[in-house]
Point group: C2
Chain length 140, copies 2
DNA sequence: AGGTATTTGTTCGTATGTATA
DNA sequence: GTATACATACGAACAAATACC
């Protein structure tokens, strides 16, 4: 039973509030977040719960964490464009751990998979690339 | 082979082993996983650690969880194709919680964003859609 | 160079709630 | 109604990385 008027604050609620603060610009890119310990005290929860809340935002790619330092709001990277020819198919999927390490895909982001007519595939990190459809298929 | 008790097994190691079992086909789509309690006992860790391990795979979209039932390997859905015209740009990003609920995007997957020349954007769930580049831009 | 404090990362044990079988 | 199983949460402890002095 949930008591109306008083709010059971869970990690999901904490994540939602912090997410809104980032979306609204109250927390700006590069800005540091309070420590897990401070967040826990502010929201009246345990540190583990606060840790789970920020872990959600990290998995969404909104913030980054550095052990021994803390959390800060992710700064959106520059986007590179890659041309795709007529008939190419573009899809996305979560990266394998190997791909995440190889392409340094940001947390929460998938990879862009471009499948050509011959079946060959090109993989691009989804956080830094976009696919532009071109009339002529010029990919070497 | 599992070697319980030999070396410290963390949730990441557990997730890696289960991931490999899914990738190799040892665990097939639709197949049920052992319960968290059984996994914890098998690997010699606490239930919370086993829970975190399967949570990783769930976030990657490899398995799904049903409260009161358990975990089973995700069956890949049918993929629909959407045409994109010349000059359209295709990118991906993690879904907002609203988009995840609205489009029912599978865990771990992002959304496909098709930006047209006029700046308007179309959003597609990345787990069930692919973008096919066409010579003519015919989107209603 | 070294030492201490801070902060995140991980794990354990335990408890309660909720949904399914 | 009972048993099973996932979801959330707390406290405690230690490790690892960073920052500061």
């Amino acid at each position: 039973m949930v008591y109306p008027g008083q709010q059971p604050v869970g990690y999901a609620d904490m994540a939602a509030e912090l997410r809104e603060q980032i979306r609204s610009g109250e927390l700006r890119p590069g800005q540091r977040l309070p420590s897990e310990r401070d967040l826990a005290e502010t929201y009246g929860v345990s540190r583990l719960t606060a840790s789970r809340a920020v872990a959600v935002l990290r998995n969404e790619g909104l913030i980054v964490s550095v052990r021994g330092y803390g959390y800060c709001v992710q700064t959106p990277p520059e986007v590179e464009s890659v041309a795709a020819g007529s008939g190419d198919r573009v899809s996305t999927r979560p990266p394998t751990p190997e791909e995440r390490a190889q392409y340094a895909v940001a947390a929460g982001y998938g990879v862009l998979v471009v499948t050509h007519a011959d079946g060959l595939q090109d993989i691009y990190p989804g956080d830094r690339y976009e696919i532009v459809t071109e009339a002529d298929s010029a990919h070497e």
